[in-house]
Structure formats: C-alpha cells, structure tokens
Amino acid sequence: MFLIHCPYCGELRDEQEYRCAGEAFIQRPGLDCTDEQWGDYVFNRTNPKGKVIEQWAHSAGCRKLFVVERNNVTNEIYAVRTFESYKEQA
C-alpha cells in the first residue's frame, strides 16, 4: 500500500482513491498505419520491471489524469507530475 500526492488536489492520499490507467505517453499512429502498427499501439506494452511511467486518475477525488513515475518492484514513487510539466520540459 502506498500514498500518492495528487498534483491537483495538493494532498497525499491513499492509493485506493486512484485508478491506474497504464503506461503513459503511448503515441497513437496515423490513420495510414499498417495493421501491425495499429496492433502494436492497441495491445503491446513495454511492461518494464523497475521504473515505470504511468498515467493515474484521481478517480475518487478531482478525477484528473496525471503522470506517476514509480518503481513497480518496491512501489517507491519518484515523481508525480502533470502532463503540462512534460510539455514545458520539451
């Protein structure tokens, strides 16, 4: 069990308030893509062991989506960031 700091609510809350929505920053291919590219986009995942960059929703709170950088072996949370902060970085 771990706690997540919601960047919108500004509070450290129990993981059960949140819903994990899988790996973040998956790029949707263009409409002219092949079946292989589409299948890769819809189904294939990197599924790494260790550091993962995921999107989480504060579903029992503000219901907004944001990014959690987490270690999926120890459940240590490295960073919680909004999507906007990545855009600013880029």
Binding site: G22, D35, V42, N47, K49, V73
Partner: protein
Amino acid sequence: MKYSWLEVFKAGFSGQKQWPAAWPEVSPKAAYDVVIVGGGGHGLATAYYLARDFPGTRVAVLEKGWIGGGNTGRNTTIVRSNYLWDEATNLYEHSMKLWEGLSKDLNFNVMFSQRGVYNLGHTLQDMRDIERRVNANMLNGVDAEVVSVAELKERIPILETGKQVRYPVMGASCQPRAGVARHDAVAWGFARAAAKHGVDIIQNCEVQALDIEAGRMKGLQTSRGYFKAERVGCVTAGHSSILAAMAGIRLPVTSHPLQAFVSEPMKPVLHTVVMSNAVHGYVSQSDKGDLVIGAGLDPYSGYSQRGSPHVIDHCASAMIELFPIFSRVRLNRQWGGIVDVCPDACPIISPIPQVKGLYFNCGWGTGGFKATPGSGHVFAHTIGQDQPHPLAAPFHINRFVTGALIDEHGAAAVAH
C-alpha cells in the same frame, strides 16, 4: 526407479532412507536442440512432452531460481475447464483430460482430487451468464450443471445462503470433474519424468541475453555460461516481457501481483472448491487442512511478489460473508505471484514471427495452473513440429494484429 507400493515396502526395511534423488544433478552441455527458459510447471511439462513425443531431441530447462519456485508454488491449485468460448474450452479440457491420467503417466502422485468446483452467482445477470456458460460447456462435452440455492445449501452446509447478507447467493454452476492438485508435486513429477527422458534440468541459471543473428535463434547467454540452441521456448509467466525485451520485441501483456493466503490447518470443513466472481474470492481446503484462499489482481502493474493489503482485505471480507464460520480462523501466510495478463485474458502459445526459432508460452494471467499439462503438451508440439498445435493455433500472437481475440475476460467462470 519406478515408484510403487512394492518399492515403499522394500524401502521400509531400511527405514525409508535409501531413496535415490528424484532426478539427477547434471552438468550442462554446450549445445541443445531446444532450450526451455523457465522451470515452472508449464516449462517442465513442455520439456517432458518434447522429450517423450520427439525422441532424440536434446532438451534443457533453464531455471533462474529453483524449479516450481515461481507461480507454480504460489497459486491456489484449482483445476477446471468450464470456460465459455470453444477455443479456450478445448484447450483447458485437453488439459483436464491429461490431469485425469497424470499421476499414472508421470509415475508421481500429483494428488489430483476431483472434488468439484462451484462458481457462485449473486445477481440476475450472474445467473444468466452461468446458464449460458453451462450450456456452452455441455455443447463442448464439458460436464457442467446449474445448481439452485436449495441444492447448494444441501451440498455445502457451511455456505451462507440466507438473504440477510449484502450479496445473497442466487445459485451456482458446478463442474464435478474439476478440483485441486498438489502444486509442488506437479513441478517435481514433471521434472522427474522429464529427467527420465533425458532432459537436463539446470537450476540457478538466469538467462542474461538471447543470441539472435539475422532473425534466427543462435543461443543464450546465461549466468552459467553460453548455450547453443536454435530453438528456445520461453515460459516465464510474469517476467515474459523482460525476456521478450532481450529479443527486441514487446508483448501484449502487463504484469500484476496476484495474491493468495492460507489459514492455519484445521479439521476438514470444506470438501469442494467455491469461487465467487461477484464478491471476488475463491477457497478450498488442502489435504493438510489449511484453507487456501485466492484474491484478485492488484489494479496496477507490479513485480513485487507481495501485493497491496487492501486487495486481501476485500477478499477476506467476501470470504467471511460467504462462510461466517471462517470469521475467527487465523491466517498463516500471505504472498503474491507475478502474473502476465493478456488483453483478452487468454494465453499466447506461439512462435514469434520476428525471430525464427523463438517461441513464447505466456499470458496465462490469473489461471495458468489448471492448464499445466495441456499447455506443456501443445507447446511441445508447437516447438517440436515448428507449427502451432491445432489446439494452440487460436492462441497465436498474431491475433493481436488480426483482431481475432478470444474474449474470456469476464466470460470465464471467474474474473480474470
């Protein structure tokens, strides 16, 4: 040595102390025809059927830790074949038929006990789904029946069938031929039988890299040296994506911790297996007497082999509502296994199109144990003949390109 009552009798004269090792410690060879990565039940079964059905094939099983130390030793040992879709039912029923003769086939008592499995329904929709699935099962030649509440009360007296609970039981499906098996014995039995057919079982051997040249398998770099092998079968459950990454490919699976827990041993109280999809939990009593209880998946990816406490909290609440008699039972141990879940909750048993000679058997998610012999059998034939076994063909990895998924998500007897 063939195990028999006569051998037990003879060994009695020396105090049962003269038993040889069940399989020998081998020194690894430099090259094999087929290397199976992963010494769990599925991997050992694959090796056994490969060596048995394709004589002359040099087979090795590489295991990172010790055999049966992963999910084979972490599951709730339930065996059933009451799936909804034809493809899945055929595969699991194939496995069920192998289970029925397995102890004899392996000359090792896997303690397969066909004590029946009940899948409870708590809503009208549950009951409609149960009737549909029971009908589908019967059409596929799988034994199944719908059981009323009155009948349930008769058969499982300790089950709470009253209406005063939050989710009253409205009925159930039952597969009488389903049951449980002794998970460690399955690993040991397959290991012993495989070794007898000349398979080298190499433990404490972690694969570090796959040697692939021009799209063909050449060998594996491991913590115990390099092995030449032109065919490699990966059966590594929750860690399949890690191995796939060594081949430069991604799989349609996500790894999650799946938790289970056992109670202190008790006198016999539950003679069958009870599962509930709606309140989520399943329970049986082992021959040792402890209640073996399975919970749901952690709702996010993970490799922690531990899991979140709120998941078992939820499961324990469900169990106490179903069996009020268990409310003061003390729990002994809790653990998690890392399962690789496919988007359609069905396994991948397939050659990998990008790499000639590389095969994956993964994606079994929360329900791989029941398929152990069947999975090994069809995967062995897929590798041995370099083309999918007819029962494995629908589980080709290409279904995630063509879209021909086998949607057992929620269609099987318990949520995946």
